[in-house]
């Protein structure tokens, strides 16, 4: 059974803290993504990675950084958490596209509250 696992389902952090959200996939996928989900805004892409140590900015990278040292793990880092980063964070992974049954597999989400 394919799996994307996020390290925490719920997280409460203080303003100014450095926050790490971890995501691990066991499908040997090349591509991994971090999205932020807010009501009325849907899923917005923060960063994605198409290979180890490679990353691309999405639509809302400000205030975030990422790390991908191993193929199976993709970390989202909030350098100095702020209350406007309170949100649901979703990790996803996909295999390389081509002509095939590609799809994104998602983690269960991390609901982060910054107080």
């Amino acid at each position: 059974d394919v799996k994307v696992t996020q390290s925490s389902r719920y997280l409460v952090k203080r303003t100014g803290e450095k926050v790490f959200l971890e995501c691990v996939q066991d499908m040997d996928h090349e591509n991994m993504f971090w999205y932020r989900q807010d009501p009325g805004l849907g899923l917005r892409l923060i960063y994605f990675s198409y290979d180890v140590k490679m990353k691309e900015k999405g639509d809302i990278p400000e205030g975030y950084s990422v790390s991908r040292e191993k193929k199976e793990r993709f970390s989202l880092i909030l350098e100095s958490a702020s209350t406007n980063q309170t949100s649901m964070y979703l990790c996803a992974s996909t295999s390389q596209t081509g002509f095939g049954n590609t799809e994104a597999f998602f983690g269960q989400g991390t609901r982060l509250t910054v107080v």
């Binding site: 849907g42 892409l45 198409y50 799809e103 994104a104 998602f106």
Partner: protein, 113 residues
């Protein structure tokens, strides 16, 4: 960046009826993927249906089917014989062949008994 627009924030349908969710997108690519994902209250995103842009035939998966109009950049989802378990958020998504993947704002569907 590609944009995906879902113009219906909320919809409702009676059990056993048919409902159509709308999605439009904007891209200059000629080959890409389109998806509908379902997110029930459990928060787990579930793939409902997939369409490859190079295929003219509309995808179907049991009670779910799409109307893919490439020239109009439209990708609607039709749910037939709606069931209570179909109640969820539905997201339309666009993926380039480089794996850049974008989602719409979502449509909250409620199936009423």
């Amino acid at each position: 960046a590609q944009t995906v627009t879902q113009s219906q924030p909320e919809m409702s349908v009676q059990e056993a009826e048919t409902v159509t969710l709308s999605c439009t997108y904007d891209t200059s690519e000629s080959n890409y993927y389109l998806f509908w994902y379902k997110q029930p209250p459990s928060r787990q995103m579930i793939l409902v249906i997939r369409q490859e842009a190079y295929k003219q035939q509309n995808a179907t998966e049991n009670r779910f089917s799409v109307n893919f109009q490439k020239a109009a950049k439209s990708f609607s989802l039709k749910i037939s014989d709606s069931q209570l378990g179909d109640t969820a958020m539905y997201f339309c998504a666009f993926m380039k062949l480089t794996n850049d993947m974008r989602f719409g704002a979502g449509t909250r569907l409620t199936v009423k008994p």
